[in-house]
Symmetry: C2
């Protein structure tokens, strides 16, 4: 049943993506006289209907089965098997693709030792082991017992042995450790923290200055299982909830891409920075554990009760720790011991690429990507996306092979390697091909995961891509419905009121680096979108994908010190330019005008995101160049550099911090003005 609904979701995403790929990017020309017709390759509705009719759920299911036969963590034999499977599919002359190939990079990954697993124990003063956390998750199906399943670990966390009294540090934010530090001496302690609130690596980076020697991290049922204190009867395989032994693996560095070759493609001979210079890696041992084990530790802690917003779903009061366990506990006076054996090594990671050349504008690329590596079997993350991508290439390829259709622009497919270690495959690809991609890529579409039943579309995108998604989503019916469109269903779950268009689906922001869109939008400024099917947020409060909606608030404070007038002027000129370009598009008689006019206007649209790229904006944030969508620490969604700087200045009140805020105001103003120049009619 679950599987059936899932497959509905897959098919829905496949037809939506087909619509986007062959649909409207920028403006199209009308279709006579003949030479204009040859150039225009207009998308007609019947063509889209034909494509949609050909999406085959059984084929997607078969793709998924093949892709998830064995665990395929990045660079393992299981991963290489998926590389070969994709290559076989795409290089088959019946595939219709014009070419497919592999791109290999030599990247630095971090793994636990198979023969010496990382351990977390409670040890008495006499060194008796009183408790041992599960080394591996409990298997509920035979394939989960595969010896290739990697134990939960913190990739890029250092090897080391730490032992100390336990404290509970909420989410491991700086403010969490500061609060603890007011009443406790944290030096020599082990902190247990829950996921959320701070980046994975940051939980250890924030801890170290307080003298904390090791960190345990787990997922609280409050954050992931809707607060159910979730015994095995309530969780997977009985529901979609996380079981007690489930532990989130992950990359614990702060930058994306191969950590030893920032800004450079990781080829065999490429210069590599020393391992100790990896940016944002945890300085102290850190290990993820299941919430079953976390409960066994946290509910035994002594000390005062933690504040209300630190409490989770365990049936006990979360105390700070004495430090250490309470006197009534069997662990009284015992310490937590953390033994981590992670080690880094250079490994071969592969992207599999496929291409269908455009008939009219082969040098304009619409790109579609999905990572291939998983932490374990990856049925959902990422193979659901890969299965859909394979079905899309099958359908488009068949049409190309038949000789009846070819896209106007080139379509490039990317199956990225080593995403789970920090978007490594896509980032290395971006670094290697930045010149060409900056010059030619019209847009990048990322499909990572298609999740959960009762699905609705979830889309994050550059604003310029919003209409492309709206148009495509209106052409496809929602899962299981013959009358409700994906658009209407989406509108029901995620919506907002636009001053111009009224109630429309809420397209999210591409902030952060959650998936492979990051190198495209942040590093290269290429218009991007990230698509998935997701769960009903009205029925769950699972902690992912928080929305941000309070841009500009901080300007009330900044205006005391800095004149925001030039920013307002820049925004105004940008608005005028955009409105004017819209008029040009709608008043143009492209039928009788030079075909270069359509190209020119399309170029203006294509390059709009590029105008917001400023390599000087964030000198300390690797690969973040987009002044609107870069990552931030403050809670404000837009203008991250400015928001962070203003927040800091508000906190410190220092003149030099206000100067930095002023600098970011100038950077943002200049970028918006540049974008306005890009959109302004070219005769200006």
């Amino acid at each position: 049943m679950l599987k059936k609904i899932l497959l509905f979701g897959f098919a829905g995403l496949a037809v939506l993506a087909v619509g986007i790929l062959i649909g409207h990017f920028g403006i199209e020309q009308d279709n006579s006289p003949k030479w204009v017709r040859d150039l225009s390759q207009n998308v007609d509705e019947s063509l889209i209907k034909k494509f949609i009719a050909e999406v085959d759920n059984m084929k997607i299911q078969e793709n998924l089965r093949k892709l998830t036969e064995v665990p395929h963590m990045a660079t393992t034999p299981g991963d290489e098997a998926t590389v070969e499977y994709m290559l076989k599919r795409w290089q088959d002359k019946d595939s219709g693709l014009d070419a497919a190939w592999r791109e290999d990079y030599r990247v630095y990954l971090s793994f636990p030792k198979k023969d010496t697993p990382n351990t977390v124990t409670v040890v008495s003063p006499s060194n008796a082991v009183l408790f041992k956390a599960q080394e591996k998750e409990k298997a509920y199906t035979p394939d989960q017992e595969d010896p290739e399943v990697v134990q939960p670990y913190a990739a890029y966390g250092p090897a080391g042995h730490a032992r100390g009294k336990l404290v509970y540090a909420n989410q491991g934010k700086v403010s969490d450790y500061e609060l603890l530090n007011r009443t406790l001496d944290l030096s020599g302690t082990i902190a247990i923290v829950r996921y959320g609130g701070a980046g994975r690596g940051a939980k250890a980076i924030n801890a170290a200055p307080f003298g904390v020697v090791g960190v345990l991290v787990y997922t609280d049922p409050y954050d992931i299982n809707d607060g159910l204190m979730s015994d095995e009867n309530e969780t997977y395989p009985h529901s979609w909830y996380l079981p007690p032994s489930g532990a989130e693996r992950g990359s614990f560095t702060s930058d994306f891409g191969d950590p030893l070759t920032p800004y450079l493609a990781a080829k065999k001979d490429t210069y590599r920075i020393p391992e100790e210079n990896i940016n944002g890696a945890p300085p102290i041992p850190i290990q993820p554990i299941g919430f079953g084990d976390a409960q066994a530790l946290i509910c035994e802690l002594g000390g005062s009760a933690a504040p209300t917003d630190w409490q989770g779903s365990f049936p006990c009061t979360y105390n700070f720790g004495g430090p250490g366990f309470r006197d009534a506990s069997t662990y009284r006076d015992s310490e937590v011991k953390l033994d981590v054996y992670n080690a880094g090594e250079l490994r071969n990671s592969t992207n599999v690429m496929g291409v269908i050349w455009g008939s009219v504008e082969p040098d304009r690329y619409v790109m579609y990507g999905n990572h291939r590596d998983s932490w374990v079997h990856g049925a959902i993350d990422p193979s659901s996306g890969t299965a859909v991508m394979l079905e899309i290439t099958r359908i488009l390829g068949e049409k190309v092979k038949s000789g009846k259709w070819r896209p106007r622009r080139t379509i490039i497919f990317g199956s990225w390697g080593a995403e789970e270690f920090g978007l490594i495959g896509s980032a290395e690809y971006a670094e290697e091909y930045i010149s060409k991609l900056s010059q030619r890529a019209v847009a990048y579409i990322n499909v990572d995961i298609s999740v959960f039943a009762n699905a609705t579309l979830r889309a994050s995108a550059s604003p310029i891509a919003q209409n492309v998604i709206f148009t495509a989503s209106k052409q496809v019916n929602a899962a299981g419905s013959s009358s409700v469109s994906v658009y209407d269903n989406w509108l029901k779950y995620f919506n907002r009121t636009s001053p111009t268009y009224g109630l429309i689906p809420n397209v999210g922001y591409l902030t952060g680096a959650g998936s492979d869109y990051a190198p495209f939008i942040h590093y290269m400024g290429i218009t991007s979108m990230d698509l998935s099917y997701t769960y009903d947020r009205s029925k769950t409060r699972a902690r992912i994908y928080p929305a941000y909606h309070t841009a500009y608030d901080t300007f009330d404070y900044a205006s005391k010190y800095i004149d925001p007038e030039p920013l307002k002027e820049a925004v105004k000129s940008f608005r005028n330019a955009a409105a004017n370009l819209d008029r040009v598009i709608h008043s143009s008689d492209l039928l009788n005008e030079t075909p270069l006019k359509a190209r020119r206007i399309n170029d203006q649209l294509m390059l709009l995101d590029r105008a917001f790229v400023d390599p000087q904006a964030f000198p300390n944030k690797y690969a973040y160049r987009h002044v609107i969508w870069a990552s931030r620490t403050s809670g404000v969604a837009t203008f991250p550099g400015l928001a962070d700087a203003v927040e800091k200045a508000r906190t410190t009140g220092l003149k030099e911090d206000w100067a930095e805020a002023h600098k970011h105001l100038s950077i943002v103003t200049q970028a918006i003005s540049g974008a306005a120049h890009t959109l302004t009619e070219v005769h200006q």
Copy 2:
């Protein structure tokens, strides 16, 4: 007589530039059927001949007279008068230009105080003034007596009062001060140095760590007057040689652009760095003086004789200084006193812009620029260039006005302000419009100075622009000749043997930041050229425009430590891509193919320089992003980052310096690979 030959040079440059502006950028299409003909706008030879015939020497002369009526140092009333003159010319509806406007920036300039001139004196122990250097140059014509003539000074040099024993420090290089420091205690001394060998500001920056408290700088007759020890009968106005009181003014910062707003356009409200953070400004007082005064000081110095290569053209032995003067001198025991009153202020600097819109590709810009500000009257630098630019706009404008002709691509003219203070006008323009210019500029042509009689063309350019200059220079006759082309004349003076083309004129490199081409090629990666008419180098050894010719030498050393194989591979793939693109161009039947094909190939060519731009390549060199043409300190012409790093590693032998060299090898390799991707046929 001199004037007449000069004007021949001007006219030659005007017709050459016209040829380039309306001539071949990239490939053109053939001219039937009609729709292709409409798009192609082919340049026919007769059109070029017609343009050439219309160049009017008398009009250039009149332009020059108007432009040089008064001194027009940047932002002074004289400068504003030239702004208004250019605007009047270009905005006149009879001009034929489609539009002309001013762009104002608020920039930080540095001036001496009019009522308190900077002074250089020799002061006895009893404070008697024994000698005073001339505050202003001697006037030989009435206009040189204009009170607006600014006294010689070091722009951005600090105000201050320094007094100490004099030493002669050759060119003020680090190695010069080191040599002096071996036998002398430099602390508390004043150093006198000659121009050349090190940047202007560097002469003071290098001095300060040795305890030197002030610097005098002059131009030795050896370096500028062919070694003649040049009394007033031999120099201007009797010849083109520099008179004894002539002193070179200049900007003494190391970066270009407004020094307070790096990377940001200097608008009214733009964030400004603190003045004390200006990069590369002299830390101690420094003042230029004439060589007449320099002789009076140097020939009195005590101490040992300086080495042969420190000797100049004065009729005495150049000694190091005791420190101070020799015992037999009337200045014995006296000190040199340097009183500098320079002060910085925010001033309004103006670029004047003019445009002729392209008929077919209005969103592709061919740009032509020349700075407008001078240190004094600027008859040669820059008004010779401005006079030529005005004649070019007159000729093109008349054709546009007649309705008979319009260029295929847009031509933008820029009359830059405040170049003498560090390319400020062009750099601020680049910072403000980088998005649009990066996307649309096909090429930038810079014409700063047209110098001296017996002129030959001197051209520095991106290699991709070489053929454009060759083609245009073959269509124009050399000054005063009816049979020898500019090309043939040029070939006589500057030539090299190309392995492919045999003997051809030697096109120089656009390294460094000598004029307004720097923001275009270095900061934005736009194909650029710098044109002028220059003197016969076989007859003079004046110190400007040194050539560099020893690329790759240092690889012998690097290969001991680093495998250069990937670089060779990248160069090979670049060569193959270039050769292949050449084949595509020559085998294409553009007549019967889509017009977008020509556009696509032109885009590949246009974006080639952009592919070499890497914002991460030189984190400590403001605005230098082009990995081939950036500035360097080592003597090797190409791959500046790599050459500097290898030279440093060779000197120190340190492992970390070789690691840095390896990093630059990777950066260069990646850039060349990226350029190859740009040129590779788009179906690959």
